[in-house]
Symmetry: C2
Subunit: 297 residues, 2 copies
């Protein structure tokens, strides 16, 4: 019954944990667990960790040995997260380099309930491959059916998309159409050290703009959490933020510092915004078939 009441909650306090990662996974896990505790003390009801928070961003080169970082679900990291969720009584979104089977690895978001139960998982669907982001080497793309589906929690449906997914309006749309009121994007995005200040600014702007547009197009909250700190060739730009259903930023973390970013998300603003900007009402679902094509040549 409490579950039902909470689903009708009029607001949810979200916390995003923006942190740097050391070379020692155990230290990163300990840091994350400490921050989860702190965020809960500050009133957080849903907490989201950054992408692959357990280690440095290992995809900067293609190295067989790094598959050794992967874990099963359940596994040590997911168990520690489940325990942390239960202890803090929060819905917790983590990100795990998942070993699904021998030679089959995923970049997976995991969601735990307030009692530590696994609420659901999402395996990253769009996999990048760029210099210093050699993710296609490591991660098999998600293959769930449907591929984009919110995860049902005691606080309602939430979307967990991961990093490169953030550039795809389709992913946000599908997850919102599935009923997600908040979209979370655990992220690891940084600047190549050699880039110009102008290009760095443009990249961080573009990253923020694209995700704000998902909030706006779909009338839902978007919560993006990114790591900070220099790791090899990349300088992760932080800038975690929470946008409201009209795409306005209601909380934003600094570009270079560790931070627990909190915001109270007023869920009634979803319906209010969609009534005033009724984009979902007017979609031409009869005319979108070409979206399923690679290119229309």
């Amino acid at each position: 019954m409490s579950r039902r009441i909470e689903k009708n909650a009029t607001s949810i306090t979200v916390a995003l944990i923006q942190m740097s990662c050391s070379l020692t996974p155990a230290d990163n896990l300990k840091k994350a667990l400490d921050r989860i505790k702190q965020a809960a003390k500050q009133g957080a009801q849903i907490i989201c960790l950054q992408e692959l928070f357990h280690s440095r961003y290992f995809c900067q080169s293609e190295d067989d040995d790094r598959f050794g970082l992967a874990e099963s679900i359940p596994g040590p990291t997911s168990k520690a997260l489940a325990k942390a969720a239960a202890a803090a009584k929060v819905v917790l979104i983590g990100s795990i380099f998942e070993r699904r089977a021998e030679g089959l690895y995923h970049n997976t978001a995991v969601v735990f309930e307030k009692n530590g139960a696994l609420a659901g998982t999402y395996r990253k669907m769009h996999i990048p491959d760029d210099p210093c982001y050699y993710e296609k080497f490591y991660f098999t793309p998600g293959d769930a059916q449907p591929g984009f589906k919110p995860i049902d929690t005691s606080l309602g449906k939430i979307g967990t998309l991961v990093c490169w997914d953030q550039w795809y309006p389709e992913a946000a749309r599908l997850t919102a159409l599935g009923g997600a009121r908040l979209l979370f994007y655990p992220t690891a995005i940084g600047w190549h050290l050699k880039e110009t200040p102008e290009m760095k600014a443009a990249q961080a702007d573009a990253w923020e703009l694209m995700q704000r547009s998902h909030a706006l197009a779909n009338g839902c909250f978007v919560c993006a959490v990114n790591r900070v700190g220099r790791e090899d060739n990349l300088d992760f730009w932080g800038g975690s933020f929470i946008a409201d259903p009209f795409g306005r930023i209601i909380a934003k973390a600094s570009p270079g510092k560790e931070e627990i970013l909190l915001a109270r998300c007023d869920l009634s603003s979803i319906d209010w915004t969609r009534r005033h900007w009724p984009f979902l009402r007017d979609r031409r679902v009869d005319a979108y078939g070409g979206i399923l094509s690679r290119y229309l040549d």
Copy 2:
């Protein structure tokens, strides 16, 4: 042969004509024709007029008499535009309240070639209906098959989407997948006079943000042209702009003044941007089926 050479042009100069409209359609047409001439003198190769430039924005109430403003294509306004395109030797995008048949009216973008030939038309697909924007009363939604298709011109393929379409990532995506390198959005969007300054700013920001996101998601240019001036209950906010394939604004008009906004669009930046941010490469076309649903409940 010149057509072929131009299609390989490495840049195109775009002009957007942001203007106010009087109560006299003939005056508005004259103003538009004058500005087309001026823009061409300034080097414009493609010129785009604002939505329904021929009249005040008549959809602020539901009034049968206003169907009298509509015209066939070809009709007097389209013929005047064709002539202007030929005289100025430009590709010209106009916007017409189209009378397709008795009791069947559309909000239609028309594209003329440099020699005055009709290159194509696009009937607005997404139709709004909000206080002071009673468009569902006037406009039948577009029914072309496919609904979103670029128009082929001597300067390459361009997309002509119209106003409310600008809030739909699907429309931009489909038109870009069809090969459009520039997306044009003739627009009539304004503030209700009673809105707060804070909400006005948020609305104009949202409008710009959403369209910049289409440039970014699709790696193409976006050119949005809006009217200015107070008309009854609405204050049209202008702010016409041109964004590059990374979503950066390269030219922007003032909020309240008439203006011819020009920008040179470097077409080589499309491939450059898409190589560096290869979003089209990684789309999960196998997993987007739900986009064709109204809601996934």
